[in-house]
Amino acid sequence: MNRNGLPFLLPMLALSLAGFVLPLALLGVFSFVDTSGSPTLANYQRLFADPFVLSVLVDTIALGFKVVALTTLIALPITLLYWHASPALRRVIVFLTLLPMLTSNVVRTFAWIVILGRQGPISQALVELGLAPAPRSLLFNETALVVVLAQIELPLLVLPVMAVIARSDGALSAAAQTLGAGPWRILVTVLLPMMAPGFLAGWVLVFAGATTSYVTQSVIGGARLIYLPQFVYREVGVLFQWPSAAAVAFVLLAATSLIMLAMTAAARHPRLAGHA
């Protein structure tokens, strides 16, 4: 019996090398040459010497962390509800998670314009309650952007955690209960370590999604808040500064990878993972 997988793999492998690996390598090379094609570090030097670029970079990474933190706070009760739910209720929760996840990001961003707009329900409620003198838009600030991105990225964190829960069995938590542990203690010593791999997988996706969501950042954040996607697009589409855009993109890639590696390392740390 001699089965060879290579012929089946070859077309996708070829596309992956020519369409993915090669362009990324070129991007890397491009970020180290000047406009005449000779090697230089000037693109990076210029980036790190420019306070505006640095602030955009820091703001973008901070935005990613804020969204990760908020989604974690909101995802925890949802996943706990899933943990305690009956099989039928679990199916409903999965359905309610998939529905927003599969709905277009632009559609969800648009819905938030309605919700946070001047004539939206929140603005009206604030006036009714006497908390605001006149209807006003709640859009175009970082808090609104963090909330909206948290809603948009939430399913990407909830689903992996629910997948981990669905595979686990309840014996450990039942044992802890028999030994007299209260629900909060079970949450901290049994459930959280069990869910940690799911959270880790989700954090990576949420961080990548929140830092690169061009449409949501532009529409909800408004013109005055600039993050890396808008910056890269302006460098390329408006100013034709390809080498500097390549350098910025590479810094974004490096920053994202480093943060993901750090998150992975943290989750493997014995104090976080050791309880399981």
Binding site: G5, V107, I113, Q151, A208, L228, Y233
Partner: protein
Amino acid sequence: MLEAHRPSDWAYRLFVYGVGGLAILFMVAPVAVGLAMSFTSGQTLKFPPDGFSLRWYQALLDPAQSAPIHTAISHSLQIAVLAVIGTVLLAAPAAYGVTRLKPAASAAVEPLMLAPLVLPSLVYGLAALIASGRAGLSPSFGLVVVGHIVVFGPLMYRACAAITQRLDPSLEEASALLGVSQFKTFLRVTLPLMLPGIFAGMFLVFMQSLDNVSVTLFLADPRTTVLPLRMFQMIEESLDVRVAAISGLLIGTVFLCLLVSWRVLEPRRQH
């Protein structure tokens, strides 16, 4: 359950069922708002709407008013369909092929196949633009399709690999003993078994392609307008209520697809 009367237990229940319920509401409500907004009879995005009407759907369907939107929808559908076909042709066989390699080889290939999933697609869009420019290609409809196949291929690959990695090799061995070639065995034995994974992958690739902005933004020429970017423009320029009608259509499509797959696939999964 023994100590359900302890105050900490009440707090815990409130947290799980109360806060958990509110959190689910937060996750789902915007979808409901988007759907409800599309039926407004008003001229603005006032919510809750003053009255019910289908006027924005009519405006959206009217070719005289909405021709550019129709073009964008048509482009997006074409790109999504071609991306689905491309990923089926490339990623489904690859998901089979990788299970027929030596373990060391498949361990080396697997991360490469999945890599586009974790890379910020914005970085890829820029890289693809630079590479295609070097190759003498200018942005075009075809480049967008290829870009989508590269970026969403892993979704199809992962959906199919979930099945191929659990396939019983004795089925193929039986076919080989009967003298059937490996390629015919793949078509007649393996591929039919992979169909649930392929369908799941098709759905994911289609929806993601329809929604993609960051790859299309870099690879499309000005004539290749696509739906999400068109909607983005309409939102930025005028807060056009027709965006609500497009949203309503997209939400309805997702809802129906989910409902169908929920009804059709779920009972089988429970054996």
